[in-house]
């Protein structure tokens, strides 16, 4: 309790002059404004009627807000060949399945590589780092050939399985585990008779929580925008981004609908980000070591 009060004093004690505070606020405010303005603009665009949408010079805020763009989008969705919810479910399956598998598999491997020195572990890790550097455009054709040999073409697995084994997650998790987990903590758990599996789930994962929460956002973000164009051909298996890009591919005639689509596709990633970040506990419990 005393520790907490002391910590609170420490945290709120002013460490800068008022001028310094203002300067920092100004800098961060300017950067934040730059980041937020495109969002405000595209939301405002989604509510613009056509005559405002094509006004030159463009107006930042909408004057006569209308829901017509969203209504048009709904009409287009309901007239699509496949029920629209199907596309949403497909994308959710890919995003959630891919993210969950990626985080677990990458963390397992990262724990082994960070805290177990076994023959070949160094080599394995250098290989992973090297693979981070390869532009995926170049491996596109061989990757397709292998997916086809495995019989995964035109299934969601063609996207989910490679997502599980992306090296970025392993790399980040290894850095986090190395930075956050003391060997002494693992030793004491072993002395208490915990199995490696228990150590992983009960000690390593809770302690690197900020790490995997970050990885969830990264993975979600990447998979949410996945069109699956190379691998998925059946209409009933296609993803939401694919369907939405078909809707807006009509170009200028659907500019309003496109603005509405933009807002709708942004909602979920932003929500996930906000929920996820509010779950990060501010100060981790020092991993039990003093």
């Amino acid at each position: 309790m005393i520790g907490r009060i002391r910590q609170k004093i420490w945290m709120t004690k002013p460490t800068r002059s008022v001028g310094g505070d203002l300067l920092v606020l100004l800098l961060i405010g300017a950067a934040a404004a730059y980041s937020a303005l495109p969002l405000v603009y595209s939301i405002s665009n989604a509510f613009k009627p056509p005559n405002e949408l094509f006004l030159w010079p463009p107006q930042f805020f909408v004057r006569n807000p209308t829901l017509a763009n969203f209504y048009d989008l709904l009409v287009l969705m309901s007239s699509s060949w496949i029920p629209f919810s199907r596309y949403l479910v497909n994308t959710l399956v890919i995003t959630l399945g891919g993210t969950a598998g990626h985080v677990i598999i990458a963390s397992l491997a990262a724990y082994a590589l960070a805290k177990h020195d076994f023959p070949g572990s160094k080599f394995m890790f250098s290989l992973v780092v090297l693979s981070l550097m390869f532009a995926k455009q170049v491996t596109a054709i061989p990757k397709y050939l292998i997916t086809s040999v495995l019989g995964l073409v035109d299934t969601h697995w063609a996207i989910i399985l490679p997502a599980w084994c992306m090296s970025l997650g392993l790399f980040l998790m290894k850095q986090f585990i190395e930075a956050m987990i003391h060997d002494a903590l693992l030793e004491s758990a072993r002395i208490e008779g915990a199995s490696e599996w228990t150590i992983f789930w009960r000690i390593v994962m809770p302690n690197v929580r900020p790490g995997w929460l970050t990885l969830i956002i990264l993975s979600f973000q990447a998979l949410w925008g996945e069109t699956g164009g190379q691998f998925i051909y059946s209409e009933q298996l296609k993803t939401l981004p694919n369907a939405l890009s078909q809707i807006v591919s009509a170009g200028i005639a659907r500019a309003g609908v496109a603005a509405a689509v933009g807002v709708i596709t942004m909602i979920l990633p932003i929500t996930v980000f906000v929920i996820n970040q509010s779950k990060v506990i501010d100060t981790m419990g020092a991993s039990g070591i003093k």
């Binding site: 290989l127 942004m266 970040q277 100060t283």
Partner: protein
Amino acid sequence: MKRLSLSQQRSLTGYLFTLPFIIGFILFFLAPFIQSVIFSLNHLRIVAGGYELIYNHFENFKHALYVDTQFLPTFTQTVLNMITDVPAIIFFSFFAALLLNQKFRGRLLARSIFFLPVILSSGVIAGLEAADYMSNLMREQATNATSFLAGPTLTAFLLQMKIPRELLLYVISVVDRIPEIIRASGIQILIFLAGLQSISPSLYEAARVEGASPWQTMWMITIPVLSPTILANVVYSIIDSFLAPTNALVTYIRTTAFGGAGFGIGTAMGVMYFAAVSVVLAIVVGVLSRHVVYQD
């Protein structure tokens, strides 16, 4: 069964834990990569029922280096852009993360705002922007405007001062690219935040009891404890800068491989690019990792 020694047991655990990753990694990354290297050494011809490879003595590499007029200039430009951007991105995201990690009202909102560029510049939304008629008009207008902050007069004025010329030119080029730098910093800020949140408060408490000033605390605690995260972020930024789908060279390789001179030449370019990126990364990691402090 013979009982395994302790170190054998530990190795076995290591292999078991990495196994799921390794299987997928070999299937979806290593095998395609090796196949790509083979493609880059051969002439690829589509025949009935598949393709055939004819070994052609590094012809693809020679073509990319000596015949293609755009490859090398784009290549050097990409490397130069990376060298200017990455330090700026690291500094910006580090300080942004330090500020966003402090306790203040609306912190979650502030964090979300800094992450917005990542959401806005990905997938469908980026495609929407590229296709939008009005955005294209605006982009056209914007290219006619002078650069972001440092216009030609200001640059000339600054160059007359007694400041090292190279340093000044670097600062000006960074100032010119501030929008790109903020746009590219979203994930780095997040990684730094995760690192900062894992620093034990008892370390700060101890430092405070010993009478350390906030400035000293920053250099003696925050930066050393955060050093593995800094390394991770530098690696991430370099890769992000080299492999972003918007990167000029990546776009060029893609058009070469799938539209222009053929897949063989495209993969040859890709392999050379990979080698160059690896060398850059190896140097950077080699220099930085000497200063990284791990907890063990």
